[in-house]
């Protein structure tokens, strides 16, 4: 039982990270019908921005709540700007062409970011500075939960609620929903769609950056290619939940995280080696697409952002 709860905590931690990244995929898809493959790399950029901020501002020396807050917010803001820049210079100029063009551009942008980082910083993993004192708490007998895991839960829940509020309670959110229904009609209604698309990219990128910094607290190893597999799995999570659907992205992320961890933890008992972990996410994707092409919560009538 202890082990089960422990695995559940482990899975939820991983899942919360996937969920944060999946939100970016799903929002951009909702608005532009574009799968932004560079999104996983924004997560990596977020972790690296946090890394350099921590060193430049002198927070790397020891754990401090102030340092963590500054690094987290700073990384989110800078990564949001990076996301907006990518949209402005890579996607906007070709938005009028076929959707396939943008998709391939997205793959190109992703490769560009990865290889720029490898060229500048090398592919060797770096250690993210410890900004949160490492302590573990014991729950239910023997299940340990570390401070960094608690941080992941608190921050990701807060960010998801904030996002929900922005989408449904603010003017920008209303505009985003309008654009997601129909871009051209929204434009005719006087909505500055370019600005709204920019904001969407900024929001998604900020969430991915937060995921980057939070993972780096939990697992201090960061490298320029860390966004590839994580990004892909977050994409799977978004599709699983129903791409374009915000709560779906969160649900999908958590499901993928838990499924993966359980494969590692219990797969051996039924003859599935722990290396099959990555295969599981994609197997789930295929099954979902076979039986429910719109994803778990996705449907054509539901509100999309």
């Amino acid at each position: 039982m202890d082990t089960f709860i422990q695995q559940l905590i482990n899975g939820l931690t991983v899942g919360a990270i996937y969920a944060l990244i999946a939100l970016g995929y799903t929002m951009v898809y909702g608005i532009l019908r574009l799968i932004n493959f560079a999104h996983g790399d924004i997560y990596m950029v977020g972790a690296f921005v946090g890394y350099f901020l921590a060193y430049q501002l002198g927070f790397a020396a020891g754990p401090s709540l102030l340092g963590l807050t500054v690094v987290l917010l700073g990384s989110m803001i800078i990564s949001a700007l990076v996301g907006m820049a990518i949209e402005r210079f890579a996607y906007r100029p070709i938005r009028k062409y076929a959707r396939m063009t943008t998709l391939i551009t997205a793959i190109g942008v992703s490769l560009l970011i990865e290889n720029l980082f490898v060229a500048r910083l090398g592919a060797a993993p770096r250690a993210f500075p410890q900004l949160l004192r490492e302590e573990s708490y014991t729950l239910f007998g023997n299940a340990a939960i570390s401070k960094s895991q608690i941080l992941i839960f608190i921050v990701s829940i807060a960010l998801m609620l904030l996002l929900q509020w922005i989408i449904f309670k603010t003017k920008v959110g209303t505009a985003m929903r309008a654009v997601s229904f129909n871009l051209n009609s929204a434009k005719l209604m006087g909505i500055n769609t370019d600005v709204i698309i920019s904001v969407t990219f900024a929001l998604g990128s900020a969430l991915a950056a937060a995921a980057g910094v939070l993972t780096a607290q939990y697992n201090p190893q960061i490298d320029p290619l860390m966004g590839i597999i994580t990004g892909l799995k977050a994409f799977v999570a978004a599709v699983l939940g129903g791409i374009g659907n915000v709560p779906g992205a969160v649900l999908g992320g958590l499901l993928i995280g838990i499924a993966e961890t359980f494969v590692v933890g219990y797969g051996q008992n039924i003859g599935v080696p722990s290396t099959f972990r990555d295969a599981v996410a994609f197997a789930i994707l295929i099954l979902v697409l076979l039986f429910r092409p719109t994803g778990l919560l996705g449907s054509t009538v539901q509100e999309k952002v």
């Binding site: 991983v14 490898v118 592919a123 697992n219 201090p220 190893q221 590692v264 933890g265 051996q268």
Partner: protein
């Protein structure tokens, strides 16, 4: 415009080909002219510390040899190539070094998977290759042109199994292996074999792949089985994080590892969580023997960091090659190969090196304890000696290898005391 670009491109290509063609050309083979040696390793990839460190050792050895007058008057030039830690790239750069630069010998790689990809190229081109630190047995089985100056995994796995069983009195062990790495799989296999033979039991085998971010699933599953030790034969990039997450899960039993842990970055990633772990390695930087301390001092003066085992092995590999070149009197492939393969009692920094019939070096291993950012010497374990193989230091941490009581029972023409360049035990001619 297009045409101009095209012609520019053609011209540059032409110049590049020309430049490359000239570099190695006249030096290839023969008995005169400079000796061009190729080095390949991971200089920018995930395990770049391995490649950079080894190259530092190789370059330092080459410079020392050149300063002392070279080899029969010929100077050594090292051409190094980056394989980014990818097997397919290793094969490509080795082909380039052989075909284009016409190197007379190759040094590299560290990771067995990369050496295995490159070795067939060297074998078919009849260019001798010395791997400084690939420990998987399959590496030298590629052919008679491939040799190495380090011990092999069956021995390294056995060393840790013996240490776990005899010294730590462990009865049960769990293994956490890097599924895609021949190095890790080899060590797992041999550790399990030896540990079982010594009466222990492997209760769980979990795997991960390089670049994974979360190991808690595997570790939680291991924790529920309560093993006495956890063997993690991986590379430093992952191991540091595994140690950290193990501590977060409140796993207190020692982690055991191999030479793949040895890198300064390990401490950045793992920090205090690494304290109390043990690894098997090729040499101890704390060894007070004058030859080792001179090497450590020279290396620090040159690069500003302490040499890890890989730097020492790179240094030894280059010097074994130089020694073979001297004895062969030529840099022609077949003669050089024979000279390398008959290396005997060569006083290396990492121990006395004798290349055996399988082109592996037979030498002892040391067990080091990780404590506060340092590798503290624990024991020396020699190959294939019966029963009491462990030359235990009386007070661990204070007594480095040289002071350990000499062990009589060793196999092959291998002096017992480790890491000694000192002429003293240079007996047992066979």
């Amino acid at each position: 415009m297009k045409r101009t670009l095209l012609s520019l491109l053609l011209i540059t290509t032409f110049f590049f080909t020309f430049a490359c063609e000239r570099r190695g050309g006249p030096a290839a083979g023969g008995e005169t002219g400079q000796i061009v040696v190729g080095y390949y390793g991971d200089l920018t990839g995930r395990t770049s510390n391995f490649g950079v460190s080894t190259r530092n050792g190789v370059l330092m050895a080459a410079d020392e040899i050149n300063k002392a007058g070279g080899i029969n008057g010929r100077q050594i030039t090292i051409l190094s190539e980056d394989d980014e830690g990818r097997p397919e790239k290793a094969a490509t750069v080795v082909t380039k070094l052989i075909d284009q630069d016409r190197v007379i010998a190759l040094l590299g790689e560290v990771a067995s998977g990369n050496t295995l990809a490159a070795a067939p190229k060297a074998q078919s081109a009849h260019v001798p290759m010395i791997s400084p630190s690939s420990t998987n047995p399959a590496v030298t089985q590629v052919g008679d042109y491939i040799s190495r100056v380090c011990f092999i995994d069956p021995f390294q796995g056995e060393v840790m199994a013996k240490f776990a069983s005899n010294t730590l009195k462990a009865k049960t062990a769990a293994i956490m292996l890097d599924f895609n790495s021949p190095y890790s799989r080899g060590l797992t296999e041999f550790f399990e074999k030896s540990f079982t033979k010594l009466g222990g039991k492997v209760v769980s085998k979990q795997s991960y792949t390089q670049g994974d971010r979360d190991y808690k699933g595997q570790l939680t599953s291991i924790r529920s089985l309560k093993p006495d030790v956890i063997y993690v034969p991986g590379y430093y990039g992952e191991v540091g994080v595994i140690a950290k997450q193990a501590k977060q899960l409140d796993i207190q039993v020692p982690l055991l590892g191999g030479d793949g842990w040895d890198a300064p970055q390990l401490w950045d990633l793992g920090g205090d969580a690494l304290n109390g772990s043990y690894i098997s390695n090729h040499y101890s930087v704390e060894d007070p023997s004058p030859a080792i301390q001179k090497f450590v001092g020279d290396f620090k003066a040159r690069y500003n960091i302490a040499p890890d085992a890989l730097a020492a092995l790179g240094y030894d590999a280059m010097r074994v090659l130089a020694d073979a070149l001297k004895r062969a009197g030529t840099s022609e492939g077949p003669q050089l190969r024979d000279a390398i393969n008959t290396t005997k009692d060569f006083p290396g920094v990492t121990g006395v090196i004798t290349i055996d019939a399988d082109r592996n070096a037979v030498k002892p291993a040391v067990v080091l304890k990780l404590q506060g950012g340092k590798y503290v010497y624990q024991e020396t374990i020699t190959p294939d000696a019966p029963a009491g193989t462990v030359a235990s230091a009386p007070t661990p941490g204070l007594s480095p290898p040289a002071t350990s009581p000499p062990v009589a029972a060793t196999v092959s023409s291998q002096p017992a005391s480790t890491n000694k360049n000192a002429p003293a035990p240079k007996t047992t001619p066979k």
